[in-house]
């Protein structure tokens, strides 16, 4: 079977050692005329140096306001297969753990109801099936639901939460990232499926300060594992490491607070001054381990640049006793989240992320609004300008 559209430019991207997405599209196109059309249109973009999609457009399944992103070709006559080319977002299994049985069935669904192309995963963490028409959406949805999977977030809703592998496959995890990710996704299904927020809201969970799910840069609320007590030291293993590399130079000298030193051959840590950055533990995982009083820091407000510039998550709760709260179905946290959403709902404007809102009204106003006390851990340093708003109640 010959190619429906010639793609000399895209063919260039089949060369080279890195796995080729063009070959992947072609593999899908072998089974799907619409994906053949996709190839054709993308080739045109390669020639014209602009994309050829119409702006947005509607797509969705009944009862849901989220879970599909509508996409329509600029050239429906020329590429009828992608007149509609929507994507469907599916909540992943926490930590992205799967088995072959499920994945095969999902591949089948993608070929049956869409273009046979998938994203593992979208940048927020959803599985995405590309190239679906509205007509197929309901059947695809039901087929997916039968596998025990549900649609993910899109639009002004709670976006699909995501997490690092955590305790499933990592010795550094200070709490069960997958459990809380699952629990909150389950709890907030309505907020996820039916957009009713000012804008999107993202939750991500990393088991430690390495932040392997990049929560501090990409989620309105980031949970980063930490601990309160002393780092556990295995002095014999420390000695082994000193034989292997320059521990002074590559570990101690790079500790952000310089709170470690050697006394004779023994490593000493001034834990009161440790900021739980993970560096020493990363470098000497056999010798050092986090303490026993584990929990998480909660950072708030990260987001992409638009409109007021990019934001990192900022420290909101230095130590959240997440492992204790887990025993109560995360009751404390859910209270806090609900306060936040109320505050955001009341004071935020449309298309204003919670971080931007805090930037606009000030951290103190937000803290009062959600019922948290100011603590010095929240700031890099106290104010340096003298414009203090003294209030009556404190006189």
């Amino acid at each position: 079977m010959g190619k429906k559209h010639q793609t000399p430019l895209l063919d260039e991207l089949k060369k080279g050692k890195w796995i080729s997405f063009v070959k992947e599209i072609e593999r899908a196109a072998e089974k799907s005329e619409r994906t053949e059309d996709l190839l054709g249109q993308v080739e045109e973009s390669y020639r014209d140096k602009v994309n050829h999609w119409k702006h947005g457009g509607m797509a969705g399944v009944k009862g849901y306001g989220a879970g599909m992103v509508g996409r329509f070709s600029e050239f429906p006559e020329k590429y009828p297969g992608i007149k509609e080319c929507h994507s469907m977002r599916i909540i992943p299994s926490a930590g992205f753990f799967y088995n072959s049985d499920f994945l095969r069935k999902l591949a089948d669904i993608s070929e049956k109801h869409a273009g046979g192309l998938l994203n593992f995963h979208g940048a927020t963490g959803n599985i995405q099936i590309l190239g679906m028409s509205q007509a197929e959406a309901e059947d695809a949805f039901q087929a997916i639901a039968e596998l025990g999977f549900d649609l993910g977030g899109s639009g002004s809703d709670l976006r699909t939460p995501s997490c690092c592998a955590g305790q499933a496959r990592c010795e550094f995890a200070n709490y069960d990232t997958m459990k809380i990710c699952y629990n909150l996704t389950e709890e907030y299904q309505d907020e996820l499926h039916r957009p009713a927020f000012n804008y999107k809201f993202k939750l991500k969970f990393s088991g430690c300060a390495n932040d392997c799910v990049a929560s501090a840069a990409r989620s309105d609320l980031a949970f980063i594992g930490t601990w309160k007590d002393k780092i556990k030291i295995n002095q014999d293993e420390v000695k082994n490491y000193t034989k292997k590399f320059n521990v002074q130079k590559y570990v101690l000298d790079k500790c952000p607070t310089k709170c470690m030193w050697f006394e004779g051959e023994n490593l000493v840590i001034d834990d009161e001054n440790c900021v739980k950055c993970m560096h020493c533990i990363n470098e000497m995982p056999k010798a050092l381990r986090a303490g026993d009083e584990k929990g998480a820091s909660i950072l708030i407000g990260a987001k992409a640049p638009l409109v007021t510039g990019p934001r990192m998550g900022m420290m909101l709760v230095p130590f959240y006793d997440i492992n204790e709260d887990a025993k109560n179905d995360y009751e404390w946290l859910k209270g806090l989240i609900s306060n936040m959403w109320e505050f955001w709902d009341e004071y935020g404007v449309s298309r204003e992320r919670i971080g931007e809102l805090i930037g606009r009204v000030g951290l103190n106003t937000f803290l009062e609004g959600v019922g948290l006390e100011p603590v010095p851990e929240m700031v890099e340093h106290p104010r340096s300008n003298p414009f203090i708003k003294f209030t009556e109640d404190e006189d």
Partner: protein, 361 residues
């Protein structure tokens, strides 16, 4: 009757229980891992407190994959690891292997099938990226094509451990920056350079004027009367071509074949290891779109990577290296010109200046 049908329809079933997908070794040692060791760029082993071992083989993925790809990896997983596999947060595939004997055969099979094994340790990590011309209406460039071109060039760094630290490259096709693009070791970002064009008539039908105005970071959009009807006008003196207006208002397209392209950013990181998370900073304001292989971008990334490889100390991330040698030296070494575009002029611009006499001369 209608009720019955309704009941049958599945809805709001929520997230799938991940426990179903955990291998026996993982279930047994959940939360009880003791340490890990990196064996080579394709393989690591996690050792549990009780001595149990779990091997992981990592394989590169273009993220945009076919059903056939999925079946390929399922076949491998079935053959060597009870069908257990996962994806990483950077879109790689990981096979979770309980029996050490299966590690090498699995890797051989993958290589035989043409897949890329690697990505663990001090490597160039899989490039996180976005949709580009394949699926997104706001893209200023393609995503997958740039990523493929760069990864082809950097391939050796995915499969061999020879960098000072892990290098995380990210790609976004517009300033919406879907991904942790604004805080990557090297970021490539689709960039427009011309103001939006206003289709006054469509605008009246499709756009909400107040939210269009609010979407602009530089207050460049003002209400206007066009043909006696409400519309907007753009102050081209202040517009920074961000495309935010187009995101909320389809009648303000901004894509422009001759003037769209890519900018390059360096030195961001997300982890809290050692230094705090930090944003990537501008290295090159603009490189034109050069499909299909984007040689300009590929060379720029290569230049940065080579300078980093030669200059950084073991364990130093790109940004930590630059901080140590100073930005003037970074520009000198790479040969990238420092221009007025590198000096911030947005909202918090004044906080980015050098408030000291510290300077390398």
């Amino acid at each position: 009757m209608a009720e019955e049908v309704k009941k049958k329809r599945l809805t709001d079933i929520g997230p799938h229980d991940y426990n179903e997908y955990l291998s026996p070794t993982i279930k047994k040692n959940y939360g009880k891992w003791a340490y890990h060791e990196i064996i080579d760029t394709g393989t690591m082993v996690h050792v549990a407190e009780n001595g149990d071992k779990l091997y992981t083989v990592r394989m590169g993925s273009p993220r945009l994959v076919s059903g056939s790809f999925v079946r390929d990896i399922c076949d491998i997983a079935d053959k060597y690891c009870g069908g257990h596999l996962r994806f990483t947060t950077r879109n790689n595939v990981e096979f979770l292997i309980e029996d050490e004997k299966n590690v090498e055969p699995l890797k051989k099979d993958l290589e035989k099938m043409g897949y890329n094994v690697g990505g663990i340790g001090n490597i160039v990590a899989n490039i996180v990226h976005t949709q580009g011309w394949v699926h997104c209406h706001t893209s200023a460039s393609d995503a997958s094509g740039v990523v493929k071109s760069v990864m082809d060039e950097l391939y050796e760094y995915f499969v061999e451990d020879k960098l000072p630290s892990k290098t995380r490259i990210a790609f976004a096709c517009c300033l919406n920056m879907c991904g942790s693009v604004s805080s990557s070791d090297i970021a490539i970002v689709g960039t427009h350079r011309k103001p939006p064009r206003i289709d006054a008539e469509r605008l009246r039908n499709l756009c909400e004027i107040p939210s269009t105005i609010a979407a602009c970071p530089t207050n460049s959009i003002r209400p206007d009367t066009v043909d006696g009807k409400p519309g907007v006008k753009v102050n081209e003196e202040t517009c920074v071509f961000c495309g935010s207006c187009y995101t909320v208002c389809p009648a303000m397209p901004i894509a422009n074949a001759e003037n769209d392209g890519l900018s390059i950013w360096v030195g961001g990181k997300v982890s809290n290891a050692r230094t705090k998370p930090t944003f990537s900073k501008l290295a090159i304001p603009f490189i034109p779109n050069e499909p299909p292989r984007w040689p300009g971008v590929v060379n720029a990334v290569k230049t940065i990577l080579n300078a980093y490889k030669d200059g950084a100390e073991p364990g130093e991330r790109v940004g930590e290296w630059i901080e140590r040698i100073g930005w003037p030296r970074f520009f000198k070494i790479t040969g990238f010109p420092f221009t007025k575009y590198h000096i911030d002029d947005f909202r918090l611009a004044e906080t980015t200046m050098n408030y000291s006499s510290h300077t390398r001369l």
